[in-house]
Amino acid sequence: MATETMTEKALEAAPPPSRSRRAALAWPIARRALTGVVTLWCISVIVFVATQAMPGDVAHIILGPGASSEQVAQLNQNLGLDQPLLSQYLDWLGNVLTGNMGDSIVSGQPVSELLSERIFNSATLTVIAMVFIIPLSLVIGLLAAVFRDKLLDRAYLGTSLIVTATPDFVIGSLVIALFGTVVFKVLPPVSLIPPGDAPWEHPRQLVMPLAVMVLVGVTYLSRLVRVSFIDVLESEYVQLAIIKGLSMRRILFLHALPNALAPSIPAASIMAAYTIAGSVVIEYLFAYPGIGSALVDAVAGHDLPMVQAIIMLMAAAFFCFNQLADLLGTLNKSR
């Protein structure tokens, strides 16, 4: 009988004492941390090799076209660029591990100093975006699921498909044209935040980049929410709740929501990771002083230590959110 196989499987999986349950949780976390270290190391190699392979000679760029070959050689020696690649890599890795990201080639200031404000600005943008994205996605996904296959749902699905298929910079440019320059001119077309100011001191500058991030995020996340709500609304416990004569409000918020939320949380975490990586385009587009635009500037200026630091930072953040999503998913399943 099916029930028997189930009980036996349950027996098999049943965690007898709580100690082993905690152990069962500790192992996946430890394993994730370990794979995290390996992954980040792989990324460090790729980043280092890729930045070395960038066209153009750094010393030439810094010194300008008129520099003599002795000056170039001197600078290369000062920067350690004449060393073999492997020892350059090991030097760099050792410095990164001790918290020293090196100095910017362009300005000569420490990378960590240059980046700290940028990181703060980017994090602010991401957090505010997520604060809008999560509740909006829930409400929109829920509404779409309730009005499934009705006009509202179809219109929403069509729109979100178009938004998802359009590259971020196109959406951004359209928004700028619409509200910043050509049509309405109600908002500043660039989001310059003066150095030393907190981003929220300039709310008008934040509206457009946030709007684009939220639009892109919500169209993605709300579709996941919609699907998990539809699954739950088709479940037998919701059917029983309808049969019991409960109100629609009670069914949606008490019976459906907690069960539909569970699969959406890992998705939200992946969304956060995506927002961080996606900020490069949006920050650059709006000239917002975050790490995304810093990366674009660093690449243009051949500022290798900056490029390496920013990419490592983004990779680590992306990795952490991904692992968080995985972990939340596992926890949810074991419940």
């Binding site: 009988m1 037998e236 059917q239 008490l254």
Partner: protein, 595 residues
């Protein structure tokens, strides 16, 4: 006025095909009506339609459902919701999926009730005690997944009872339960309905269950009521050929009877008919049956049946009565054994589930293995086939030692020991034609390919009565019974010396079960040895030679089927036998009469 009055209830799918056609019945307060039918008969659709509810893709297109003087189908959505809350309780088939995993028992028990929460709580405690559950706060704080299957089912029943409805609808509430739990739940249901004066409709595929709780019995087929009447009328003197055929296909724990299956296969839901829906499978069919749909007419036994020839059927049905099969001669003792198992122990982690299980299977013998959920019978069959790693025991096959693990077994041994799984919906590869499913083992064990292999596959499929024209279909295009036959053919093509059948009829309808059991009987007559694992004592009675009874991982009784099931020695077997429901039939008397 009757408590429940259903007239002309019709449910159709969005594409217009009718899945419940003109169903009418009435119930007094305190009466229980058993609604019986096989898969696809529309019985569960009727159960939901009694609450004015239809699943997505289906709509109630006509008729009246009057409960407590209110016509549910004429109400606005808000009024209907209030009426459901006030008038009707519903007990779902599978409480494991129908109770919300995110809410406590308490929340789910109180939410459907009218009135204040404070007043409802004492009532809930009272109801919980009535259904034999604890009623303390600790229990109320639990979530459904922290309860056993039987407890979940009782919570679901308490949920329906709590508001004292006019009508309770039970949708196959005992399908997932053990016979002993089922017996207790059914007894409780019958008592509660009588004591509280509630009418109830009890949907089931099991005639014995319906016969136990129902004052009235209604038989459904292809969306229509084919026969309805009192329990005695329908079960003891069935008038409709389908009711008769259904009763014939039910195995009995008391006698070893041949089972009569219904020829053909049940129509798909929503199929269209010009005449009688059962005409294609009926033994009494005439030309006029196919011309126009027969009305529901009163019969001389007192029931109503949808059959033009009902009086003729009633007079002539005796010719269907079957004689008990001769008692199986015990096989020769000295001929050795196909499989011998000594001191088999098996565990899952630290939990031991099998304790010193020993038995022999003689050549040509069918050994029944009987036990309830959790008795370890599935683990035992997995040990035999070598799939369970955590085991110790001594196996011998034809006198030669048999390694316990599958990976240590030779190809030849694997070929000789074949397995048929419980669920034919999951055991066949959905992306492989059935001919291919049967050819694969031929390639693997005998290296046969091409035409030779297809010829052998054809032979095997014909042996299980699957016509060769179905060979290039995919499993999804076959019925459950046909799929199980293909699974058996796949095992047979290996030319096994022992076939292990793990609950192979439990996922099937009773008339289909009959045909599979009779198929196994022909294999038995050809001299195949079998181990037949089941929770159904009646099936063991109809096919087993010897039986072992498993309880909590131990063999508590073993012996000849006749002896064990006629005069069980162990209290566990006695209890199991007492809890197994029987359809009360006239067979016992009529079987002595000449046919």
């Amino acid at each position: 006025m009757k408590a429940v009055e259903v007239t002309g209830l019709t449910v159709a799918l969005d594409d217009g095909s009718v899945i419940v056609d003109d169903v009418s019945f009435g119930l007094e307060s305190g009466q229980v009506m058993g609604l019986v039918g096989e898969s696809g008969s529309g019985k569960s659709t009727v159960a939901l339609a009694l609450l004015g509810f239809a699943k997505a893709g289906a709509n109630i297109t006509g008729g009246k459902v009057v409960v407590g003087g209110v016509d549910l189908l004429a109400l606005s959505p808000n009024e209907l919701r209030e009426a459901r809350k006030k008038l009707i309780g519903f007990v779902p088939q599978d409480p494991a999926t129908a109770l919300n995993p995110a809410l406590t028992i308490r929340a789910q028990l109180t939410e459907g009730m009218l009135g204040e929460k404070k007043e409802n709580l004492p009532r809930i405690r009272e109801v919980l005690e009535t259904v034999g559950l604890p009623s303390d706060n600790a229990f109320l704080r639990r979530h459904p997944q922290e309860l056993s299957g039987g407890q979940q089912q009782r919570v679901a029943i308490a949920m329906a009872l709590g508001k004292k409805p006019e009508l309770i609808v039970f949708d196959e509430p005992t399908t997932g339960l053990d016979v002993s739990t089922q017996a207790r739940v059914l007894e409780m249901v019958a008592g509660l309905c009588a004591d509280n004066g509630m009418a109830s409709v009890f949907v089931s595929h099991d005639l014995a269950v319906v016969g136990t709780v129902g004052d009235l019995v209604t038989v459904m087929y292809a969306g229509q009521v084919l026969e309805t009447g009192s329990r005695e009328e329908v079960l003891l003197s069935a008038a409709h050929p389908y009711s008769i055929a259904l009763l014939e296909s039910v195995p009995s724990t008391r006698q070893r009877l041949p089972l009569v299956s219904i020829p053909g296969r049940a129509p798909a839901a929503g199929a269209k008919f010009d005449g009688c829906v059962f005409a294609d499978r009926c033994a009494f069919v005439e030309d006029r049956c196919r011309d126009s749909a027969p009305p529901l007419v009163a019969t001389s036994t007192g029931s109503s049946a949808r059959c033009l020839r009902v009086e003729h059927v009633l007079q002539n049905q005796r010719c269907l009565v079957k004689e008990p099969l001769p008692r199986v001669e015990s096989r020769e003792e000295d001929s050795g054994s196909v499989l011998s198992v000594r001191n088999l122990n098996a565990s899952y982690g630290r939990t031991q589930v099998l304790f010193d299980v020993s038995f022999n299977v003689a050549p040509g013998e069918t050994l029944g293995v009987v036990g309830e959920s959790g008795s370890g019978k599935t683990t035992m069959s997995r040990c035999l086939i070598g799939l369970h790693e955590d085991q110790s025991g001594i196996f011998e096959m034809d006198g030669k030692p048999l390694p316990p693990r599958l990976r240590d077994r030779s190809k030849e041994v694997k070929q000789q020991l074949q397995y048929v799984f419980q669920n034919p919906y999951g055991s066949l590869n959905p992306r492989e034609t059935i001919a291919n499913a049967v050819v694969v083992p031929l390639k693997h064990f005998y290296g046969e390919r091409g035409k030779a292999a297809r010829d052998k596959a054809k032979e095997a499929l014909e042996r299980v009565e699957i016509p060769w024209r179905l060979a290039d279909r995919y499993p999804a295009e076959l019925s459950g019974g046909q799929r199980q036959r293909v699974a058996i053919a796949r095992a047979l093509v290996c030319n096994p010396s022992l076939l292990i059948c793990d609950e192979i009829t439990s996922a099937l309808d009773v008339s289909v079960q009959a045909s599979v059991v009779e198929l196994l009987r022909t294999l038995q007559n050809d001299g195949l040895s079998m181990i037949f694992i089941t929770h159904n004592l009646a099936v063991v009675r109809s096919i087993g030679d010897r039986v072992i009874v498993l309880s909590q991982g131990r063999v508590v009784e073993s012996g000849e089927v006749e002896a064990v099931l006629t005069a069980p020695q162990h209290p566990y077997t006695r209890g199991l036998l007492a809890d197994t429901l029987e359809v009360d039939r006239s067979d016992a008397e009529t079987s002595d009469l000449p046919g």
